[in-house]
Amino acid sequence: MESTILLQVEAGVAIITLNRPKQLNSFNPEMHKALKKALKDAEQDDSVRAILLTGTGRGFCAGQDLNDRNVNSGEEMPDLGESIEKFYNPLIKQISAMPKPVIAAVNGVAAGAGANIALACDIVFAAESASFIQAFCKIGLIPDSGGTWTLPRVIGMARAKALTLLGDKVSASQAEEWGMIWQCVADDELIEKALSVANHLATQPTKGLGFIKHALNHSSQNRLDEQLELEKDLQRLAGRTQDYREGISAFFDKRAPEFKGK
């Protein structure tokens, strides 16, 4: 049987592909475990300096595989909190805490948790034909995988409420216009464009990028003085990286810097 997650490392970029195309890459426990491992491997591999997450086939990710969730009358009510605690929440935290940039290339529909996993990534590209759907409300559930946290921050409360209460489909171009994602690109250029950004990031000061990500991810929980303190701490660490030294000396030598990610 083919793996539910493909991991390929090339030129400093780990390409992680959700690979259950017949089920629109919806999650089952096996795929969760494989994705967790792939992200962990990418984190621990020093040669990896950027991560690209995408899906095979016509969908990006349809969220939870509802075939695992068939609730027949007479059966005990399921504990959905369990799979969130075990899989979805750790996944979102893993992406958020990843000290390397994570780029999403949303190749097709991103629905339910699939949409929120994409939005948890640092830079999101989407193909023109892709769409985002907060489908939860249609089956009596609430947006999970960080949806209720991320959406108001990226598109504002008014849009977040309408989207999550109505469950309407948002096209990639609308998502770009709203600032929900970074860029909507032509379908046949998606991978090329996302990969070129990933390749670029893989040549940049990885530690510094990780610190930027960290600071931004914390900005909404902190008060200004706490955030200033955090910036000070992170800048202190950034100032001790080899890449900072390289960046400065390249600037003075008027040459292109060669960052090592250290």
């Binding site: 805490a97 960290h214 955090l230 701490d233 992170l234 202190r236 660490l237």
Partner: protein
């Protein structure tokens, strides 16, 4: 200065901060009697050396201390446990008179958390977990865990931690008052050193008196505490450093403290 310990790395900074790093990574810094004894001999040395102003206890970027040494404990029955010198070892850490600052990453579990509870100031890296998992092994905290934790973070959370054995995050620990700062793991030691170095610049006798007054808080009534505070406050009136501190403030210059 004697700094040769098998399970500790010891370094004195220029600011007078003694950094003691627990260094038994293969045992996840388990606090055996041996490690505690080394820590105490280190503190004894720190107590007598005037250039040591404060002590930072650190366990590294990924681990503080994951508990006691279970191999050591499993062979002890009631009599051996009763006669074990361990309570005296903990007491000696508790009696250390200079500020003790913990820089915690990874796990502070069981005895690791009990050590944290003996420190005056605690900073932790994000992702650090604090817990008393003794109950999951059929035992219970035996070095102040139930007592100091309940006094530090309050009844309900302490009960939850001790009775379930489940750990809390650094964020929760800060909200509950167990620790004072959360930072990223790579920065935990820096943060502790910042605090320790700042304290190291203060007048040594005032620091010592203030620590003694603060340490007495859980042990007595408010009126006893206020009395003790006033006595120590009065005692400092006799010190040269107090005169220097006030003088320097009035002259808008930096004070030079001598510990006299």
């Amino acid at each position: 200065m004697h700094t040769d310990y098998s399970d500790l790395l010891v370094e004195l900074t220029q600011q007078g901060v003694l950094v003691v790093t627990l260094n038994r990574p293969e045992k996840r810094n388990a606090l055996s009697n041996g490690v505690l004894s080394q820590l105490i001999s280190c503190l004894d040395m720190a107590a007598s050396e005037s250039e040591v102003k404060t002590v930072v206890v650190y366990g590294g970027e990924t681990m503080f201390a994951a508990g006691a040494d279970l191999n050591e404990m499993s062979t002890q029955h009631a009599v051996e446990t009763w006669l074990n010198p361990r309570p005296q070892l903990w007491q000696r850490i508790d009696q250390f008179e200079k500020p003790l600052i913990a820089a915690v990453n990874g796990y502070a579990l069981g005895a690791g958390l009990e050590l944290v509870l003996l420190c005056d100031v605690v900073v932790a890296g994000e992702g650090t977990l604090f817990g008393l998992p003794e109950i999951t092994l059929g035992l219970m905290p035996g070095a102040g865990g139930t007592q100091r934790l309940a006094r530090t973070i309050g009844k309900s959370l302490a009960n939850q931690m001790v009775l379930t054995g489940q750990a809390i995050t650094a964020q929760t620990a800060r909200e509950a008052g167990l620790i004072s700062e959360v930072t990223i793991a790579e920065n935990t030691l820096n943060k502790a050193l910042d605090i320790a170095s700042t304290i190291a610049q203060r007048a040594p006798l005032a620091v010592r008196a203030a620590k003694a007054s603060l340490k007495s808080v859980p042990n007595g009534t408010l009126s006893q505490g206020l009395l003790m505070e006033r006595q120590l406050f009065s005692l400092l009136a006799e010190t040269q450093d107090r005169a220097e501190g006030i003088q320097a403030f009035l002259e808008k210059r930096k004070a030079t403290f001598e510990g006299k």
